[in-house]
């Protein structure tokens, strides 16, 4: 397959696939951050049942295989009277799985602060809200930059699950199987998709590293 033929036939589809992958990544990551924050608040709150639910949530979703969750959402939920579109299913699965890791990142961000600082803040007379607002959150956010950069890359790679349901428009991984079932694709479609993924990951990594260098707390 020649490059020109590939671009003529599938060029606009490829562009759509790239935008679709990026779009799903952004939406999933935003949703994942919101949910991870909620789960983390549950896990550090003083109410025992909520803590437990938060912990169980994280254990379930960081250990489940994404594809087995996706088939459940896409093929099993209609039997329970819940009908969702392919895109919604993929995004929800990515959010559920990624938010478990996101919450772990927040928790280890909180854990690096150290008990001593909290005790010091309290003995200075800071209130609970002041401790959270002025001591915990600024430090936890800063040390979470690098893990969250990696999580964003992981979200990008997880959207490849979209190739397992009839997504329209396709995403980058689905494109490779689409072209190969229609044409003798050869190595070219794979290379384009791979470079799109690797390039995006690389760009995310660069930006994340730069932000991290700027805000990192040297201990």
């Amino acid at each position: 397959m020649s490059v020109s033929y590939l671009f003529e036939t599938y060029g606009s589809m490829y562009l759509q696939a790239l935008l679709n992958t990026w779009g799903m990544t952004v939406v999933s990551f935003i949703g994942c951050m919101v949910l991870a924050l909620v789960i983390t608040i549950m896990r550090v709150c003083p109410i025992a049942p909520l803590r437990k639910v938060g912990d169980i949530y994280v254990q379930i979703f960081r250990n489940i295989a994404g594809i087995s969750l996706l088939v459940f959402f896409y093929y099993a939920f209609p039997y329970l009277g819940i009908l969702w579109g392919e895109r919604t299913c993929v995004i929800l699965v990515v959010i559920l799985v990624a938010s478990a890791f996101g919450s772990e990142n927040f928790m280890s961000g909180i854990n690096t602060i150290g008990v001593g600082q909290i005790e010091a803040a309290r003995s200075l007379g800071l209130s609970f809200t002041q401790i959270i607002k002025d001591v915990v959150i600024p430090q936890a956010l800063r040390s979470a930059i690098l893990p969250m950069t990696n999580l964003l890359i992981a979200v990008l790679l997880t959207t490849a699950l979209g190739s397992q349901v009839p997504l329209n428009p396709k995403e980058l991984t689905g494109m490779v199987s689409y072209i190969n079932t229609r044409d003798v694709g050869g190595i070219l479609p794979f290379t384009i998709s791979a470079l799109c993924y690797a390039g995006t990951s690389f760009a995310i990594g660069l930006v994340g590293n730069r932000i991290d260098k700027k805000v990192r707390i040297l201990r």
Partner: protein, 283 residues
């Protein structure tokens, strides 16, 4: 990834010892949230019941030995691929790491690109490469390898960085001391650095197996009989989609939970830290 024990202490440090008023409020909150959680669970159960999902025809075949034998065969398939892919990834990971830390700028740049390439693409895409692209060039590979090779390649990129973190954790003074008594670079790496680095990253290697196990779950793409694929066969035999997918999902959670616990245990025993993907530098 934090061990649950030390996150507890930080969780509790956030709050002062509660007085009677706070204790009362926490109690009220506990009761309300418990009721809410139970209500949600009940709602899910009612929904399942209304859709007839508790009907014995969806569950009775789990009482048969053949069902479990079939699922166990799938489990064996999953673990076979995962262990093979994990082993290959270990070897490749060390090789990539050695290339990455090479003093030769050209070599280290090449391996940096290789590592970042494999860490930056989804394993599913690489599986399609082995499944759809290579056969087009006349390369026929058994489905086991169509699964094991791509998974090991994507994992080796991550493992290379884990090993590098391990190598960096070995004190520089030891390397200098070894060089000063006349060991060559290769001897230093083989006799001083690698043995310690590998011991340091063992917990991280175990926890990385979780990722490999998860990656194998797309085995049905290449029609390899893993646990999910065998589950699909059960579904077509018994026409029981929801219950089978549910059981398969639970099995995945249990396998990976066990692996994670093993890595936490190993980390605690050796006093090292688990280096997760999230903690390494992304580029």
């Amino acid at each position: 990834m934090s061990a649950p024990a030390d996150s507890m202490s930080m969780r509790d440090a956030l709050y002062e010892t509660p007085g009677p008023k706070t204790k009362h409020r926490v109690l009220v909150g506990t009761i309300i949230s418990s009721v809410a959680i139970l209500a949600i669970l009940a709602l899910v159960m009612v929904r399942l019941y209304e859709q007839g999902q508790f009907s014995p025809k969806y569950w009775s075949f789990f009482g048969k030995w053949t069902t479990w034998r079939f699922l166990l065969e799938g489990f064996a398939g999953t673990m076979e691929v995962a262990l093979m892919a994990g082993t290959i990834a270990l070897v490749l990971g060390i090789l990539f790491m050695l290339g990455r830390i090479s003093k030769n700028r050209v070599v280290s740049t090449i391996f940096r690109v290789i590592i970042n390439f494999f860490r930056g693409i989804p394993s599913l895409l690489l599986i399609y490469f082995f499944f759809l692209v290579l056969p087009g060039y006349g390369l026929k590979i058994p489905s086991f390898w169509m699964l094991a090779l791509p998974i090991s390649l994507t994992a080796s990129g991550v493992l290379a960085e884990v090993f590098r973190a391990g190598v960096n954790a070995v004190p520089q003074g030891q390397v200098e001391a070894a060089l000063s008594i006349g060991l060559t670079d290769g001897q230093v790496m083989r006799k001083i650095v690698l043995p310690q680095a590998i011991r340091y990253v063992i917990p991280s290697l175990i926890s990385q197996l979780v990722v490999v196990v998860k990656d194998t779950s797309v085995a049905y793409v290449v029609s390899f009989p893993d646990i999910l694929q065998n589950g699909r066969v059960l579904i077509s035999n018994y026409d029981a989609l929801v219950s089978v997918y549910f059981v398969v999902a639970v099995i995945y959670v249990l396998i990976n939970y066990a692996i994670n616990q093993a890595s936490v245990y190993a980390a605690r025993r050796s006093g090292t830290k688990i280096i997760a993907r999230t903690e390494e530098s992304p580029v």
